[in-house]
Symmetry: C2
Subunit: 189 residues, 2 copies
């Protein structure tokens, strides 16, 4: 087994990542670790993840991954983008819906950036994006912005309403597929 440490403080992400990676790359065993990393205030999820994984690798010296994700709303100039987590904690889904009141263009993109660092210290970034739109009200039970994001390929349902199906089509799934493909090819005899 190839042990991969996933540094995060978010239990929802642990669940999603373990489920997806272990299915796509059965030789990989994902171990979650809550390590206090200083995230840099950068304007892209790729850079945030990359800086964080470098710091984590320095501390751990083992294969490690970090994920950063953001929801970018077209009509709000990309807000909340790389600050999605802070914005969710402060104004929440209700705040986003309020900002979108009366706005016709509800297009948004969810983006995941996975930064991976190998045993040798090689850093790779894998991204996944899903286009969609912001719903008119919260629908379904889910974490983060899941109750208000309707992915294009979700038949009109929000991520939250999709339940386990979310992991089949999500931005995170798409980024993890790229990671898994890379890991599988590297780990194959």
């Amino acid at each position: 087994m190839y042990e991969l440490i996933f540094v995060t403080s978010n239990p929802h992400k642990v669940r999603e990542v373990k489920e997806i990676v272990e299915r796509l790359a059965p030789k990989v065993n994902v171990k979650a670790l809550n390590l206090e990393l200083k995230e840099r205030q950068l304007d892209s999820v790729e850079e945030i993840a990359e800086e964080a994984v470098k710091e984590a690798f320095k501390l751990l010296g083992k294969p490690v991954m970090v994920e950063d994700a953001g929801m970018f709303i077209d009509a709000l100039n990309g807000f909340p983008g790389p600050y999605s987590s802070y914005v969710f904690k402060t104004i929440g889904n209700k705040g986003i819906l309020r900002l979108m009141e009366g706005i016709e263009n509800r297009k948004a993109t969810f983006k995941s950036a996975i930064a991976f660092c190998s045993q040798e210290g090689l850093t790779l970034i894998f991204t996944g994006t899903v286009k969609g739109e912001i719903s008119l009200e919260e629908r379904g039970e889910g974490w983060g912005f899941d109750p208000i994001f309707i992915p294009e390929e979700g038949g009109g349902k929000t991520y939250a309403e999709l339940g386990p199906l979310k992991n089949e089509i999500s931005h995170r799934r798409r980024a993890l597929e790229k990671l898994a493909t890379w890991l599988s090819s590297t780990l194959s005899p």
Copy 2:
């Protein structure tokens, strides 16, 4: 003359800081420098300014200061706080007013954190806060959140409506007073 480099990309801050510091500490000559610093995504303006000034001092090796400021709205759990600059650029004053529609508690605090690093590499943080509230609409011409923030001691006017008087009572003024006092005592014969 004591030369102090102020690292910032914001011309409005340069104007305010030069005006205030050179009046309060006449021996100090503030020179603005636009240096690309990676701000860390931290949850306090103090930490953001401190990390940035350390990076700036590493690069410059001379007395240097950095300022970070944020507006913290009580009813929005402190939003936009340390992310004020990003939030202003994306949803702007109109976004904040929209989030505050119908909310009775309009209390907010503006906070400035100045991080200073001396020739010897000593880092000091000076903070200034002003309590106030969010106006019902934009009033006056000003930068950032100035048109929607009514400081407690401003006679009901917004920072923007106060014009040059803003510098007499602002959060930035209060932090700079502390810096100037420290500099004056250090520089006196």
